[in-house]
């Protein structure tokens, strides 16, 4: 069925849901609604993001998100760069978890070019992805606390504690790749940097520290009365709406839908490492927090399993990068989706065109954009304070939503 605006409106009305496209003229003129531009310059919009909120006092009546403030024409740029040059550019999409960006891109190119990845490289990629998931969720927890508690108060305490632990993971990545943040360590066929000697011990000690601190974070967040009050029943996203909008990742699992690409469509080492998928009922901010905490614990376990079971072997199954034009594709189109900390990050590549060394079209499916599309449905009825909490709990990264 063609998804026109009218169709969506009818469907929402039938389900008794908010109609996000309802015209402002439909509201009573005497209601004296106030239009508040929330962003793009705002301490809590998780990047440059704007929402037009129509407020009745403090209650939101209609919310319209505007994206595109961080659009950097990445997909167009990637049409001009050769296959081997693209990895450092997509690092900057979801700038909070670059490892998974690189992984998604290189997996798509590998599928397009028919390159197989050796086992050690797959396990290394999985290890990096799980460590990156922990780091990303730690950053999320810190910024969520900032949204709830303010930069000049309790929120910043939890924020700095989370970053202190995140530094441990960034140090691990620095040990391997040489960069703390934008690594460029994936290449077509495997990885560029091998694990140094003594890495396993460092991983274990870092994970032990993080695991012990998770209990402290719970005291300051999940178990805290004020946090529970601010997040219970706030921003309920029901599973059906989430599926309709294409929301994936922890946001979907918190709405009760048991779907995780690592288990349902395994890639990397996930066919050998079983993933326990964490779900929660409720779909509110508290459920999303619970899911992310659970995922952090699960990622710690998976990272330990990955480093303990790391196989020997080459780290790349294709030739190393020697020339910019060494990878050519004259035809083919592939889509690869992986489970990033935000949801399903998909890369769609069309090979061919005038320059076979560059992709004809590269399209990135960002999970954050779909999460943001839920805002017009779940914000009405909430207060301005709740809007900040809901936006924070969806964990949007504008770099990937806008590309």
């Amino acid at each position: 069925m063609e998804m026109t605006r009218a169709t969506l409106t009818m469907q929402s009305a039938r389900r008794g849901r908010v109609d996000p496209h309802r015209s402002m003229r439909a509201y009573d003129a005497d209601a004296d609604l106030m239009l508040l531009h929330f962003g793009p310059q705002h301490p809590s919009t998780h990047g440059v993001f704007r929402m037009d909120l129509h407020l009745d006092g403090e209650i939101i009546v209609k919310a319209t998100p505007y994206v595109g403030y961080l659009h950097r024409a990445v997909e167009k740029l990637c049409e001009r760069l050769t296959y081997v040059q693209q990895t450092p550019v997509v690092d900057k999409n979801d700038y909070v978890s670059p490892m998974t960006n690189e992984q998604a891109l290189t997996m798509a190119f590998e599928k397009l070019l028919g390159v197989e990845v050796p086992r050690r490289a797959r396990w290394m990629r999985t290890l990096f992805a799980e460590l990156q998931r922990i780091a990303s969720h730690l950053l999320w927890l810190g910024t969520f606390a900032l949204d709830l508690g303010g930069a000049l108060g309790g929120g910043s305490t939890l924020f700095l504690h989370c970053f202190r632990e995140r530094e441990l993971i960034l140090d691990l990545f620095e040990e391997v790749t040489g960069a703390r943040f934008h690594y460029n360590t994936h290449l077509i066929g495997g990885n560029r940097h091998d694990l140094p000697a003594g890495f396993a011990a460092k991983v274990h000690s870092a994970l032990a520290i993080i695991e012990s601190r998770l209990a402290e974070y719970e005291v300051l967040s999940l178990d805290n009365g004020i946090f529970k009050k601010r997040s219970h029943g706030v921003g309920v996203l029901d599973g059906e709406l989430a599926l309709e909008l294409g929301v994936t990742g922890p946001n979907l699992r918190a709405s009760g839908v048991d779907h995780d690409l690592r288990r349902d469509a395994p890639y990397g080492a996930y066919d050998e490492l079983a993933v326990n998928v964490v779900t929660a009922q409720g779909g509110d901010c508290f459920a999303r927090t619970q899911v992310r905490f659970g995922e952090m614990r699960e990622s710690i376990r998976l990272a330990r399993a990955a480093i303990d079971g790391m196989p020997e072997g080459p780290i790349c199954g294709h030739k190393p990068i020697r020339q910019p034009g060494q990878a050519k594709a004259t035809s083919g189109q592939v889509y690869v989706g992986i489970e990033t900390p935000r949801g399903e990050l998909g890369t769609f590549v069309v090979g061919g065109g005038d320059t076979p060394t560059c992709p004809y079209r590269l399209k990135i499916r960002p999970p954050s954009l779909h999460a943001l599309s839920a805002l017009p449905y779940i914000l009405p009825g909430a207060t301005v304070s709740d809007a900040v909490a809901i936006l924070g709990s969806l964990d949007p990264i504008m770099g990937e939503a806008d590309r």
Partner: protein, 326 residues
């Protein structure tokens, strides 16, 4: 020197002392907050960062003074001045030591509540006059919060008044030094009254967890969004002074003020005030903030009924307690 001259000199000295205490308080808060967040705090400006507050004030004062277009100039300029005046005004009745009270009013408590309660006026003036929707939202929330939390504040303060039988702050402290501190005995209603006072004081001073009017993550800077330079400095200062004075009043009403072992003195009052001041910061840098309707619910559904109950218990105690226990 005439009484007026004496009062003016005393007031000037007191204000100077309070502002320097605020300066040290800012330094201590930043160091303490830094340690709680596993970082160092200021270290570069001056030894151990002691001159940091001075650097902050100089930086703030030299910033450009901007008045937004469409702002109500008179109210906009008046708000920070009034905020400073009202917050410093409460200090007039602080019982610092048996011989050092700027104005030993017989109705010191009433004066304190009245002038402290007036703080809502400059806050709303700032919110209204800024011609900014964020400031307006902050101002509305501030009015609701300050007026609502005035009720548990008054009820909590009534408990030591009833127990000691005096409306003068110095009188309450004298009674405590002769008998016992109210926070320690009678435990009910003394300690819950102190807890109530503490929470109401946090709410009146717009501190986390009750800092909805200046919720930085939601409302940019709340009522002070459009303020720059010297006016912002005055608001900043007024908030600190309000908290400091609130801690001092709490120390005086519930912890015996200048009373202490080895003789009464200013040092005890200062020590207790600073201890409470530190607790205020400790709470600020740990807890998240409550949403405005949750704040209102806490005030009206919990604190006010508890406050009324405590007043009744205090009155019953005075009436029925055996002479020795009082």
């Amino acid at each position: 020197m005439s009484a007026l001259g004496h009062g003016a000199l005393y007031g000037a000295v007191l204000i100077a002392v309070m502002l320097s205490t605020v300066a040290v308080g800012i330094w201590f808060e930043r160091k303490f907050a830094g340690r709680m967040q596993s970082r160092l705090g200021p270290t570069i400006v001056g030894p151990m960062g002691l001159l940091q507050p001075l650097a902050d004030v100089v930086k703030l004062l030299q910033k450009e003074d901007i008045i937004p277009a469409g702002a109500d100039r008179a109210l906009f300029n008046l708000a920070p001045v009034l905020a400073t005046i009202f917050s410093l005004g409460v200090a007039a009745v602080l019982p610092l030591s048996p011989h050092m009270i700027a104005a030993d009013l017989d109705i010191g408590v009433v004066y304190m509540l009245a002038v402290g309660g007036l703080m809502v006026v400059p806050t709303f003036m700032a919110g209204w006059a800024s011609n900014n929707k964020f400031a307006l939202l902050g101002g509305m929330r501030a009015v609701a919060q300050s007026i609502s939390y005035g009720v548990p504040l008054v009820l909590a303060v009534l408990v030591p008044v009833i127990l000691s039988g005096s409306l003068s702050l110095a009188g309450i402290v004298r009674w405590q030094s002769e008998h016992h501190w109210f926070a320690l005995w009678p435990v009910i209603p003394g300690l819950p009254a102190f807890a109530l006072y503490f929470m109401a004081m946090l709410a009146e001073a717009n501190r986390i967890p009750f800092d909805i009017p200046e919720a930085e993550s939601e409302l940019v800077a709340g009522v002070t969004t459009e303020y720059t330079g010297a006016k912002f400095t005055l608001f900043y200062l007024a908030e600190y002074v309000h908290t400091l004075v609130g801690s001092a009043i709490g120390a005086a009403l519930f912890f015996g003020g200048w009373d202490g072992p080895f003789g009464p003195g200013l040092h005890w009052m200062v020590a207790k005030t600073l201890a409470l001041f530190v607790v205020v910061y400790w709470v600020r840098w740990t807890l998240l903030r409550l949403r405005s309707d949750q704040l209102m619910e806490l005030c009206w559904k919990w604190l006010t009924p508890i406050g009324v109950a405590l007043v009744l218990i205090a009155a019953a105690w005075v009436q029925f307690a055996p002479q020795g226990a009082l």
